[in-house]
């Protein structure tokens, strides 16, 4: 793995991170233009929300990103607090991956930690339940 990577030069190894970065930037641009905080845009409503009427763990993520793009951190947390935290972790994972590509070796990130997936599963499940509890104060978490 390492030897095959070392055969390429740094720009070739950076193809993956650059592609992912470009996709993320494009997605941000689409969210910016689409403005999911205003109903009626071309960005789809979460199918889980549309079909079942419940908030899935990811509901509000587009609006969260839109708020972050407009430096409105409080609104971002309000739309999907867990997704804000997840976004930070995803960014770290991306940075670690990119750094590993630059130096030409695989670096173990948080996602390879033994309990990372289990913790994620617990958090997502709790978030799913908590934001759908039909009484105060949890109704404030609905988006």
């Amino acid at each position: 793995m390492i030897s095959t990577q070392l055969r390429h030069n740094v720009p070739a190894r950076l193809g993956g991170p650059l592609l992912v970065g470009a996709l993320a930037a494009g997605a941000c641009a689409v969210v910016w233009i689409g403005d999911p905080t205003t109903p009626g845009g071309f960005l789809p409503v979460c199918p889980t929300k549309a079909l079942l009427g419940i908030d899935c763990p990811g509901c509000g993520t587009l609006r969260m990103i839109y708020s972050l793009l407009h430096s409105d951190f409080l609104s971002a947390v309000r739309f999907n607090a867990l997704a804000v935290a997840a976004l930070a972790f995803l960014f770290v994972a991306f940075a670690v991956w990119t750094y590993g590509r630059v130096v030409g070796r695989k670096i173990t990130g948080w996602q390879h930690h033994r309990w990372a997936a289990a913790v994620t599963m617990v958090l997502v499940t709790l978030w799913f339940v908590v934001r759908n509890l039909p009484f105060e104060p949890f109704t404030a978490l609905r988006v």
Binding site: P39, P47, L90, H112, R114, A118
Partner: protein, 107 residues
């Protein structure tokens, strides 16, 4: 009397590689953005990988890894399909998501 043991009674040979990827980042991404239960299934599968690997069940760990990837892939595909269908419906004007609930009153 020195027949070779029948295959299958021995645990699979330990792979010389590392623990299979749990595809956790992929699973989180699809759970957040494709917004489908498939992503959650992928996270559940991802959470099984390290435990199975640590207890020496390499084949099962690999299977969970593959399943995590498969479910995340399906979540991604489902998300794209929903997005495309939604885009088509918007384009032809079949869906108007502008929930205008105001009542027009002419005085």
């Amino acid at each position: 009397m020195t027949q070779p043991p029948p295959p299958g009674n021995y645990p699979p040979p330990q792979p010389q590689g590392a623990q299979p990827s749990s595809h956790l980042v992929f699973a989180i991404l699809t759970t957040l953005f494709c917004c489908l239960p498939f992503g959650i299934v992928s996270i559940v599968k991802a959470s099984q990988v390290s435990g199975l690997w640590a207890s020496g069940r390499y084949a099962e760990a690999q299977a969970s890894s593959d399943a995590a990837k498969k479910w995340a892939m399906w979540a991604l595909i489902a998300g794209i399909v929903v997005f495309v269908i939604y885009g088509i419906l918007i384009a032809v004007g079949a869906v108007n998501m502008d929930f205008d609930t105001t009542t027009v009153t002419d005085y």
